[in-house]
Every structure is written in C-alpha cells, then in structure tokens.
Symmetry: C2
Subunit: 351 residues, 2 copies
C-alpha cells in the first residue's frame, strides 16, 4: 500500500473531542504511514495536540470551523444549522475530492444524513447501510444494516448482501464470503415474504459470494457465516442485545470474583488469561462502522471510545480506500439485474 491516502477527520465529534480524536489520529499516524490528515474543527483546540507531536503536525492540515454538531441535535436541526460544522466540512472534503474518506465520532444520524446529502449513494444502490465487524467463535463476522434503515425492501436486503460481501472481501481478503440472511428459522418458508424473496434472488444470482440461506440470532456469533444481512431495526436491536448480554456477564463475573477470599486469589491467577479474553472481545478493537453504499468512504467511530478505538476506526477507512471498496461494489452490481429480479419474484408471489 504505497498510495498516499488523505482522510478528513471531524475533530470535534464524540464525547471527549477533540482530545480522543487527536490522540487517536496520533496513534493512527504511527500505524498507517501512508495516510495524511485534514483536521476539521476549532483550531485553537486542535493546535496544541499538533505542537506536541512533530510527526503528526507534518502530515496534518487544520481547517478551522466554528460550529459543532452535538449529540442531542436531531437530524433536521443538524442539517439546517450545521453547514459550517466540522462534521459537514469534513464530509464536504470527500465530496470535493480533497480527501479519500472521512472519519467522525459524532452524532450518527446527522453524519449519515450529511454524508448522503454530500456524497450521494453509489450508482445502483438504493440505500446506504451501517456495517461493522464483531468477534465470533471462529474469527470475525460482519453485519449490516445496524440501524440506518428501520424498514427495508427486498431490493435493500439484496444490496446489503452485495455490499457486505464486498466489505468483508476488502477487510479480510476472503474471496467468496459466506452470506446469511437473519431470520427466525432456517427453513425456506420461515419469516416474511421480503426475506423469502431476497433469499430467492441471492440464491439464483451470479455474485462473488456464497449465499448460505437463512440464519438465526445465535448463528451471528457462532460464526456460521462471514456476513449477516438484516434490516436496520433488527440489526440495531440484535447488536445492542449482544452488548447488553456481554455487560450482564461481565458484571456477574466481576461481583463473583469479589465474593470470597479464595475467589479473589483465583482471580489474580486467571487475570492474565482473562485479559486475553477481554482483548479479544474489546469493543475498541471492533470500533469503526462503515456507511456502506455511499459514493465515498465514511466511517463512524463510537462516540465514547478512546484513542485506540478511534485509531481503529481510522484503520477501517484506510482499508476501504486502499482496497477500493466502492469499485468492487459497482463491479458486483453489474452482475445483477436487481430490478428485473425483484419484479420476477413479486410476480411469482402474486401469481
């Protein structure tokens, strides 16, 4: 990867901006020497971090913006009032061709709306989706949509499958990722007709993916497939249920380890291996959700992450730019007469 990549960074997005953002970029600057940064935000707050880090200063350019999109602004407020915000300007840099991709830890809804307005969706794609990676029993699993589209059409689901497969190929180099449609049973007749139609189209299509069919909620982390496709409502609830379950177990274990002297002693002995498990499932490690389907690379970092987490989100953007995700999506879509396939399915169902 010798190509120089320029990323625009919303330095003011997230809970502890610009601190964690700047420290995250500093970390990323060690990991990805081929990347240059355009930093959007309040110059007087950003500059001190650059003055501390000569290397970072050399490869960064600060673009001052006064306004900040806050976490509690709703989407229409953000769009109306945020044209001079660090978020908007950072996205605009991608649209204008100054940067290859944008990373923000700010308000998710505003970021998606501004990215759609500025970058537009890829030709042939109806709706962008939020896509991210999680640990599974056998490695990692990508899942989309995680919340951009509460309701989806057959067409959306098929596009998500194409985009998710391309994302996984770019992230992990798998040639034919195994793709599953999330359902409430694995038999062909299960679920809504939307799911059955999407499954039929994917089964008959000539795409660079291995369509596994339907999967259930417990398959996500079992590693049954490489890519899990679902609507944004189900995806978001499922992701957050997993987070809640992990928290429940962590809390139960923590209080158990404190409950007796023997347990405290045992905890000291298992602490090193426990740390390995924590590292393996560390949310920071999986930080960085891609807004896939946009005509440009936009990555959302968790707002409450730290420098390490933000650097990982930068890494997702670097991978997507370096491996030219969007061209591969475009190339796959030409294999697929999606409008025709959806019509055929609907006709078959109503006949």
């Amino acid at each position: 990867m010798s190509k120089v990549i320029t990323l625009s960074i919303d330095a003011m997005g997230g809970d502890s901006a610009p601190g964690i953002v700047m420290n995250g970029v500093a970390e990323a600057c060690i990991r990805y020497p081929e990347v240059r940064y355009m930093l959007f935000g309040r110059e007087q707050q950003i500059q001190p971090y650059l003055d501390q880090d000569r290397k970072l200063k050399e490869i960064s350019e600060v673009r001052h913006t006064d306004d900040v999109v806050t976490g509690d602004q709703n989407i229409s407020q953000a769009i109306r009032q945020g044209r001079n915000s660090s978020m908007w300007k950072a996205i605009e840099a991608v649209k204008d061709g100054e940067a290859h991709g944008v990373v923000s830890a700010g308000n998710t809804g505003a970021l998606m709306a501004m990215a759609k307005l500025n970058m537009r969706t890829l030709p042939g794609i109806d709706r962008p989706a939020i896509c991210s990676v999680f640990p599974s029993q056998i490695g990692e699993v990508a899942m989309l949509d995680l919340g951009a589209n509460a309701q989806c059409t057959v067409r959306n689901l098929v596009e998500f499958a194409v985009m998710g497969a391309c994302f996984t190929r770019a992230m992990s180099g798998l040639d034919h990722p195994k793709v599953g449609l999330l359902n409430i049973g694995t038999e062909d007749l299960k679920g809504t007709h939307l799911l059955r139609d999407a499954a039929a189209i994917l089964r008959e299509s000539d795409l660079d993916l291995d369509f596994h069919g339907f999967i259930e909620g417990d398959d996500i982390m079992a590693g049954t497939v490489d890519v899990v496709v679902t609507d944004g409502f189900t995806g978001n609830v499922s992701l957050k249920t997993a987070e809640g379950t992990a928290k429940l177990y962590t809390q139960f274990l923590k209080s158990a380890f404190k409950s007796s002297i023997l347990a405290r002693l045992g905890y000291l002995l298992i602490k090193p291996v426990l740390m390995q498990v924590m590292t393996r499932t560390d949310p920071r490690r999986y930080n960085g959700a891609l807004f896939v389907g946009l005509n440009g690379v936009a990555v959302k970092s968790h707002g409450g992450t730290d420098a390490l987490g933000f650097a990982n989100a930068v890494g997702v953007a670097v991978d997507m730019v370096a491996r030219d995700l969007n061209s591969s999506i475009g190339e796959q879509l030409t294999h697929l007469n999606l409008d025709g396939a959806v019509e055929t399915r609907q006709a078959a169902r109503t006949a």
Copy 2:
C-alpha cells in the same frame, strides 16, 4: 395455594421424551404438592416411570395415545396428521375442562397452532404471543413476543403490553410492572409509526402498568424495565442473539481457563463462585415460555432441557393457573377501548 390444579402433560414432546418429561414431572410433584397430572403418550413407555415412583403414580393418570408430533413436522402436517397425538390430546384436555393447563416440550409451531385451534384466543385478544423470563442486572425481565408473530399491528403490540404486565404480576407479584417498547432509539420520534402509535396509546391508557416508553436492545438485560414488548421477529432474533453471545463468552472463558497451569489453578479457586454465576444464568431456571393470550394456560418447555428444566416449565403453568392470569388480562382489557384508540391514532397520523 390449596386449590387442586390439574395439568395435562405431553409426555412425548422434546428431544429425550418421555424420559426427561417423566423425570421432570417427578421433580415437579415434590415441588408442587397441589398439582395432579394427566400424562398423554405411549402407555408402555410412561408406565415404568410411574412404577418407580409411588407418589407420582398416585397423582397421575395415563391417557394412551399412539401418535407423536415430531420436531421436523411442519405446522400443516402436524395439524392434519396429529389429531391423535399426545400433543393434541393434552391440549384438548384443557379445552374440555379436564385440565387447567398444558405443558409440552414438543414442536413449538405445532403446539401454538394446535393450542390456538383448540383453546381459541381470549376475548378481546387478536393474537397470542410467546412470553418468557430472563435474568437481568437487577433481577428478572419478561419479554414478548418471542416468535409467534413475525409481523405485528399496533393493536398486537398494545395487547402484548397488557398481557406481559399481567404475566409479570402473576409471576412476581409486582403491582405496576414497568413496560418498555423495544426500539432503535429512546426519543419519541424513533422507529416505525407502528411503534409510535403503540407508545401513544400505552401512554394515554389507564392500565395497571407503568409505561416507560421506548427502550433499546441493551436495556433488556440492564433491567431498565420489567416487561419488554416487541414483535415476534425482533423478539426471536434478540433472544437468540443473547444466547449466542452467552455461548461466545462461555467458550472464550473455557479455553482461557485451560490455557496455562496458573489459569487452571485459578479456575479451581474461582469454580465455586463461577458455579453461582452459572446457576444464576442457567437456561433451565428460565425454562417455560407461556403462550399468553389463549383461552387456557399452555406452556412450552425447551425441547432439549432436562428434568430440572421441565419441572420449571411445570412451575410456570402452576403460577399462571393459581394466579388466574387470564381473568386479570380480561379485566385489564375492559379498561381499554383498543379499537377506538387505534383508530384515533391512525386518523391523527393521516390527518
């Protein structure tokens, strides 16, 4: 609870029937001395268990049936071919007033379909739902629908809220259970219009429940509410995601504990407290999902549970019969002009 309760048992349902079923009933017979059993299934397979247990034999009556509904039968097959099955006959006993409730570890879809055909839904209830209890950070949480209705109307969601609150009141004695609607954000404008309409109706209603509003996936196990209401698709995926996450962590921990001599030693020291955590989250402890909204009590046990788990499912049926769940649902529904409320909401939205 001095009232004598009669339960009909599908002795042939589940992975290791009638063995685990009979051992489960034997366990339940110690816990619930007020219960009598009607055991439906193959007499020559059931009788040996009764011959071993004088107490159980005294309070049980065997009703021979030849046929068994299998796990791989689809619903229409089961309905067509299963009129002489242990499952059908056990349900029929409730319909005919011979038993107060039925417990089966058999095919979920067939059980729900047969229960609906025989028992019918409660007056005023459009659709029955699958309801169960899970551990949360502060105690327990009930959730419905877990998979009976892949798509739901506003009316269904409001009915689920009423039924879930009555279920929780019967299970745990809480007077005003806190009820949350599962969504992808907690703001009033989030999610589908179905959810917003259901929330508005619940907010304005005069029911014996404390409507909390929208919750997200990570609230389920955080204990934010006592009852989680959702459609059967989302509920099923969420439940199975939680199961998959728990399995992932268990597997990671198991292999970590084996990874070094120190870790093995530490594991021996923490084993007793780890067992406490396992007990607290033991799926057998939460076994027994109620088909709520039927004109009778029907409880589904997990097909792969053991005697302890089956006895817990019997316990759910006992609680529901003893605390007269269905009368309390009926009483709550009279507070609610649900048809009128749904119409008002729809008119408000399209105005």
